[in-house]
Amino acid sequence: MTQPINPDLQVQGQLSDNERLKKDSHLLRGTITKDLKDEITGGFNGDNFMLIRFHGMYQQDDRDIRPERAQQKLEPLHNVMLRARMPGGIITPEQWLAIDEFAADNTLYGSIRLTTRQTFQFHGVLKPKIKGMHQMLNSIGIDSIATAGDVNRNVLCTSNPVESVLHQQAYEWAAKISEHLLPKTRAYAEIWLDEEKVETTEVEPVLGETYLPRKFKTTVVIPPQNDVDVHANDLNFVAIAENGQLIGFNVLVGGGLAMTHGDKGTYPRKAEDFGFIGLEHVLAVAEHVVTVQRDYGDRVNRKNAKTKYTIDRIGVETFKAEVEKRVGVKFQPSRPYEFTGRGDRFGWVEGIDGKHHLTVFIENGRILDYPGKTLKTGVAEIARIHKGDFRMTANQNLIIAGVAAEDKTRIEALARQHGLINDSVTEQRKNSMACVSLPTCPLAMAEAERYLPTLVTHVEALLSKHGVPDDHIILRVVGCPNGCGRAMLAEAGLVGRGPGKYNLYLGGNTQGTRIPKLYLDNVAEAEILQALDGLIGRWVLERQSGECFGDFVVRVGVVAEVKVSKTDFHA
């Protein structure tokens, strides 16, 4: 299904090196198999370093001990992080027990990390353990295909166990979209699962042999929750229901939060509303938003390669018209919907199907046994008796879903015993989030996950000081400007600049529909807290009824509102 290409809409010039390596990779194979046999290094060589990302892994090392190991004449402690593909974040107790055991026995950090993309990550897997890891996952029906790299990544779906019928329908679409947009190469099966090479002429009908210009993120969202943060994603399907039944989606295209410090040609941007489509066109629309981006995304400058820049360069209407042309349908006018919030509903809720669901707060999404807080043991203990499933949320929390009324007591007892339920956790802490960052993320410039608990404690103190201990500000800390922790949709977002130094952005809102703006540049904790102290004080005194912190700072002009990112964000 080759589409006619309009060269005027393409960026001409010397293609980036990533384009060469994708083309040379023989559909993502490279020489990964050879590297797996190389016993002299724990890392991957040359192109393979990038290619393993398409298989859901990043090569990382323990950055805390990098200088120490250099002195020891040892290479960095190379390992991989694996990110599983779990559309909608649903995982069964059997699957959970298997990954729980693997994390304990075969990873350097021993943890299961829930992420903002509704999946789990293993951190610190040494090279000799990688194949066994994929085979273990495969044996329980999980893979990590295309959870990183220039492809469509794990597809998110709102965690709404209450609207069980609607959620089930939306979730099925998330899974179908994920499957439809997957790479078709057999490289994953051959390399990791030792499946035989089949003599076929492989093609990538959707993604193409050089895949996408850049990463691509998709969600299925069920209003009024915006837990998945649609504006952080390239492609979003906003569920529209009638009488509790899914009838179609509004399609939002071109959101994305990544930027590069010091490069004003990069900026976080909200998604554009293309309009409504019926269910019969979902896969075709998904496919062709991808193919338009595939054909017209910038393959020369990777910093401008994402869908949001393609839309700003060729125009919303051009992009949309091209999708309509390729699918052969017109988008209908958007159906009305409203987002009211992004947080998870902690504690027990009862679904319309009479099942009960317990959402537990996992600070930083890091499931590990801590002194007095044996989270990992607790989840495993629950998995051993749980008859429903688990749902990983886009806020890095965990839902124990589908509990029969008679099992509630036992499950709650286990959750309390292992610190999974802690009534003293404040709203502020529940509404704070950080990416992984140091010590494993190679991109990190400053601490995030390891710093967040302390920062939240400081912010809690400020709220108490100003007499509003039960209020909260959506607070997000990220180690670099690449967007994993979605700080560019926070009311107060810290973006790492260097050790102990952050940019402070203010002015997002609770619904996640406004990009915040730079307030302080490259500052340390003391200045950040001093600024927040003053602003929280003003907010408490001057806010209008129900006005959130982000709305307040924009209304009174602490920061200017970012309406059009391209022009306003850096203004």
Binding site: A70, Q72, K73, E75, L126
Partner: protein
């Protein structure tokens, strides 16, 4: 004139001779080169031509042949002194490394004196293995016409004390030779007894040899004297006080091993060494251990004691001169007598029990666990003098100039509620600060040398056994040697114990290392060792050996070297179609040809 440009010049040498000369000279340090230059000039004058044969013709039968089997240089040093003493008596002497002695000459030999050490579990030092085998083989000749004496050097802390000397002594007698002077088996503090034995032994030989020759004739053996010439002014007796410049742990933070990369400055010392040599290191004992001993014995550290003709304070003697870490039976016996400790006295009667007792104890443990009053002099007399520890040098001067690098495994273990440290390794790793002084000397080892630049080498060096191979690689890298280099390395864990990983990766990338095979024993359920990796690469190893590769093993002699040897025998049988005997013979021949060299401990 540079040798490299020699070929282009008009010279009386053939191309092959130039190549041989270049090959030889490339292995010599400046002092050796100077000596060779002088030697050749003198030889040319005397003989009117170039010859490595004895300078003067003599009656072979009237010569005392002195052979030394030396692992650490001690036996060689003693043998050299025997030679000097014999010459003093007007005896003609031939001194040679037992490893280079042609066993076929033994049948014609009339006077033989052997000085040999023993290592590991009663095995001959590497250079004496072939001779030892020959003596016990069917090929060993009748030796009715031979008169001999054997001196053994050993360490009573090992079970098979002086076993090799005993073997030689008894087997020579069994073959019909006549023992002219009784064997002595000397412990590590051998100096005084070695001198008295030498004197007596030489007197035993003197009447017959003087009679036969009539006059003294000195036969110069290049091999023997050349060795002496590259000794620097600093020796075991007169070590150089060097500065520790780097003490860097090179195992990861989660390693069960603590291995240090040590750099010592030799600046201005004039000390030279070659890859393959070892560095002798003297150390100071831990003052905490010394204080504990003083407390346990109720002695005053300032008490004056006599030690090797010196008068010094007890504390100084304990700290600087005496052995407090390596334990050995004779101490227990002397200490038991001095303190009238009946339990210990009982223990020393049972050798096996004593050995077991000492397995887990350092000398200082014996004292601390048996505290008793004795005089300061009794204590000193029951302890033996500290022996320097020898470390294979891990650097080449071609690369590091006037530094010397070591790879030191720190001996550290908990016992009896205390952390125990090895004497020298504890000193280097924990007590000696960078910038402080350490007494060192070079112990040359001509039995562990690189071949010419073109010859491929296979190096097997797990653990700290990698040390000399780092020196080899530096040397070959700097020389631009074209011979291929293949290294086998092993240790418990890849992430923690891959010694010099980054350097080896770089050598591999640059092609200095042609191949690198690693065995990390504890990274998988089934333990994998270097010998397993050798077996995996059997065919290729065999090809390399057929192509003339030299084979080197460094590291643990008790287990690893034997397992590796067995793997090599298996490879020769499997790949070469040899019988067990043929395989043994094959490696004996390699050893004889200096193509199979070991530095094991």
């Amino acid at each position: 004139m540079l040798l490299a440009s020699l070929a282009a010049q008009a010279s009386p040498l053939s191309a092959q001779q130039i190549k041989d000369l270049q090959s030889l000279v490339s292995q010599l340090n400046p002092i050796q080169q100077a000596w060779v230059s002088g030697y050749l000039a003198a030889a040319a004058q005397l003989a009117g031509g170039l010859s490595a044969a004895p300078v003067q013709q003599t009656n072979e039968s009237a010569v005392l042949t002195i052979l030394y089997g030396s692992q650490t240089g001690n036996a060689k040093a003693v043998a050299t002194k025997v030679k000097a003493a014999a010459e003093q008596q007007g005896i003609a002497v031939k001194l040679a490394d037992i490893g280079s002695y042609k066993t076929t000459a033994l049948a014609k030999e009339k006077y033989l004196l052997i000085v040999t050490s023993t290592y590991g579990e009663g095995e001959p030092p590497e250079s004496a293995v072939a001779f030892h085998k020959f003596l016990f083989s069917k090929k060993a000749p009748k030796l009715d016409g031979l008169k001999y004496a054997v001196l053994g050097l050993g360490d009573t802390s090992y079970e098979f004390f002086c076993k090799t000397a005993i073997d030689f002594d008894e087997q020579l007698a069994a073959l019909g030779a006549k023992r002219l002077h009784a064997r002595a088996d000397l412990d590590v503090d051998y100096a005084a007894q070695a001198a008295s034995w030498t004197e007596a032994a030489v007197l035993a030989f003197a009447p017959e040899l003087k009679q036969e020759t009539g006059s003294a004739q000195v036969i110069a053996w290049p091999g023997a004297t050349a060795t002496a010439s590259h000794d620097s002014a600093y020796t075991k007796e007169t070590p150089y006080s060097a500065e520790l410049s780097v003490n860097q742990k090179i195992t990861g933070r989660d390693s069960t091993k603590d291995v240090r990369h040590i750099e010592i400055s030799l600046v201005d010392s004039g000390i030279t060494y070659q890859p393959g040599d070892a560095l002798g290191v003297y150390f100071l004992n831990d003052t905490k251990a010394v204080d504990a001993i003083l407390t346990a014995t109720g002695l005053d550290g300032t008490t004056e004691v006599q030690l090797a003709g010196q008068t010094l304070a007890l504390k100084t003697a304990l700290t600087e001169q005496l052995e407090l870490t390596q334990s050995y039976p004779s101490f227990v016996e002397k200490y038991a007598q001095a303190t009238a400790n009946s339990e210990l006295l009982e223990l020393v009667k049972d050798k096996a029990a004593l050995r077991q007792y000492l397995d887990s104890r350092q000398t200082l443990d014996v004292i601390l666990q048996n505290p008793a009053p004795l005089t300061a002099q009794q204590l000193v007399d029951s302890l033996r003098k500290q022996q320097p520890r020898l470390y294979s040098i891990a650097s080449s001067q071609a690369e590091v100039g006037d530094e010397v690098h070591l790879t030191v495994g720190v001996v550290r273990y908990d016992a009896f509620g205390e952390t125990h440290l090895g004497g020298a390794s504890g000193f280097l790793a924990e007590r000696l600060e960078e910038g402080s002084q350490v007494k060192v000397f070079v112990e040359h080892n001509d039995n562990f040398r690189l071949p010419d630049h073109e010859t491929p080498v296979i190096m097997i060096g797990p653990g700290t056994g990698i040390a000399p191979f780092r020196a080899f690689l530096q040397e070959r890298d700097q020389a631009g040697a074209t011979g291929q280099n293949w290294l086998f390395f092993g240790n418990p864990h890849f992430t923690q114990d891959f010694l010099y990983q980054v350097e080896l990766q770089d050598y591999l990338k640059r092609g200095v290392l042609s191949k690198l095979d690693v065995a990390f024993s504890r990274d998988q359920a089934q333990k994998v060792y270097v010998q397993d990796k050798l077996r995996v690469k059997a065919e290729e190893i065999w090809t390399w050996l057929q192509q003339g590769a030299y084979l080197y093993i460094c590291g643990d002699g008790n287990k690893m070297a034997k397992d590796v040897h067995q793997a090599l025998l298996d490879i020769a049988q499997q790949q070469g179609g040899f019988s067990v005997e043929q395989a043994e013979q094959y490696f004996d021949d390699l050893r004889q040809a200096k193509r199979y060299q070991k530095d094991v401990y």
